[in-house]
């Protein structure tokens, strides 16, 4: 059984039964199926603790693992603003990336050193 995750404006991912939505989206990105993304898919702890993979579920059903309340309030969760690493689709889903603004000014180096 697989479900289709439509990432608004970016493309589609195939998610297997009992698979975290984020994992399916990471794989889809690796296969070049999220070409509409403006930047790399934000991936952090993949375990509901850091909040960086936040999405708004626009359509579809899913079940959830606990997610840290410092990232997602109970009200957020109730309206579908969730961490994509902590949800497992139970139907096809449509999601919108809602990356929290973690890269605050003055934190990221102006230019990261390249590996060259």
């Amino acid at each position: 059984m697989t479900y289709k995750i439509t990432v608004e404006g970016a493309g589609e991912a195939t998610c297997y039964e009992d698979e975290r939505a984020l994992v399916a989206m990471e794989r889809a990105q690796g296969f070049g199926r999220l070409r509409g993304l403006a930047r790399k898919l934000p991936v952090g702890c993949r375990r509901g603790g850091c909040g960086i993979c936040r999405v708004l579920v626009l359509e579809g059903d899913y079940r959830s693992d606990p997610m840290s309340r410092s990232c997602v309030s109970a009200e957020d969760e109730a309206r579908g603003l969730v961490l994509s690493c902590a949800i497992y689709p139970l139907s096809d889903l449509t999601v919108r990336l809602e990356t929290p603004c973690l890269n605050k000014p003055g934190i990221l180096p102006a230019a990261q050193t390249s590996g060259e």
Partner: protein, 306 residues
């Protein structure tokens, strides 16, 4: 110079979303041992090469992250001396009675400029397993999982790390082993109270009281590779590695516990002595400083915390 005053990191208290999953991760996968469970449900763990009662406390909570990081001091008199110095510096010090955590003596605690709670204590009971001391074998119980030998240090994220640097060096007698200076100011510091390259580290971050990682020491590079095998075999969420840090020279893997708290297992690192000059890094080479082989920061290093 003998080690005096603050001796070493003692314990970290982490918040976990699911205690059962957390215990499986820290005991079966990382190789720690469960010592006891307190009346309030907190679970106390230790590594097999540590004498003291526990070095990791897990508290069930609906938010991930770190409650506190505690250091052991050499004597009970040190607690009073440090309390006076900390209060003189301007931080409000509170007292935690002996036994509030099983096996622990009285503690003092306060909040530093980056928003983290730090504690000091002088006494801990011993617990098993622990190193043997008479005709000792290399271990009492054979290591399992990643075979973590000790809880070693943590990296914390928060505001005003300049003040943390000032406080830790002036009041707790730490030394700054390494630092990263960006064009707009201090980005990160690695502080030591011992002959390790770091006992605690801080990175500047706009939100207070955040955890980047708690680190556990392994025997050698082979053990780090074995940890990598375990991470893949059990589908543990990995951040980066195996790789090496330029800063401290440690060989490392970053990965996440089931609540999204980042752990590190590492081996190596240079020996630091308190007369050593501070090693410094700038914007052009900070990537190499953090991840020596990749020579650039990954997306998560400065933005993913719990």
């Amino acid at each position: 110079m003998a080690l005096t005053g603050v001796l070493r990191p003692g314990f970290a208290q982490l918040r976990v979303l699911d205690m059962e999953k957390a215990l499986e991760h820290y005991t079966k996968r990382m190789g720690l041992y469960e010592v006891t469970t307190g009346h309030d449900g907190r679970v106390y763990l230790k590594c097999g090469d540590e004498f003291d009662h526990h070095s990791l406390v897990l508290r069930q909570c609906d938010q991930a992250g770190i409650d506190m990081f505690a250091f052991k001091v050499a004597s009970d008199a040190d607690l009073d001396a440090f309390e006076a110095r900390i209060a003189d510096y301007g931080f409000a010090v509170d007292h935690v009675a002996a036994g509030e955590q099983p096996g622990m003596g009285r503690r003092i605690g306060w909040t530093i400029a980056s928003g983290h709670r730090i504690e000091l204590y002088a006494h801990a009971d011993l617990s098993d397993p622990k190193p043997m001391i008479h005709n000792p074998d290399v271990w009492d119980l054979e290591p399992h999982g990643m075979a973590a030998r000790r809880m070693d240090h943590c990296l914390l994220y928060g505001q005003d790390i300049e003040k943390n640097l000032d406080f830790f060096t002036k009041v707790l007698d730490f030394k700054c082993a390494e630092r990263v200076d960006m064009p707009d100011g201090l980005l990160a510091i690695w502080l030591t109270c011992s002959t390790k390259a770091h006992d605690i580290a801080f990175v500047k971050y706009p939100e207070p009281a955040k955890l980047h990682h708690v680190a556990f020491e392994l025997k050698d590079w082979h053990a780090v590779g074995h940890a990598g095998d375990i991470i893949t075999r059990y589908n543990i969420s990995v951040d980066v590695g195996p790789t090496r840090h330029g800063i401290t020279r440690g060989e490392t893997i970053y990965f996440f516990d089931p609540s999204g708290n980042r752990d590190e297992v590492f081996a190596g690192g240079y020996t630091y002595y308190p007369d050593n000059p501070t090693r410094t890094w700038d914007e052009t080479q900070v990537g190499k400083g953090i991840f020596y082989y990749e020579r650039k920061l990954n997306d998560a290093f400065l933005s993913v915390v719990s």
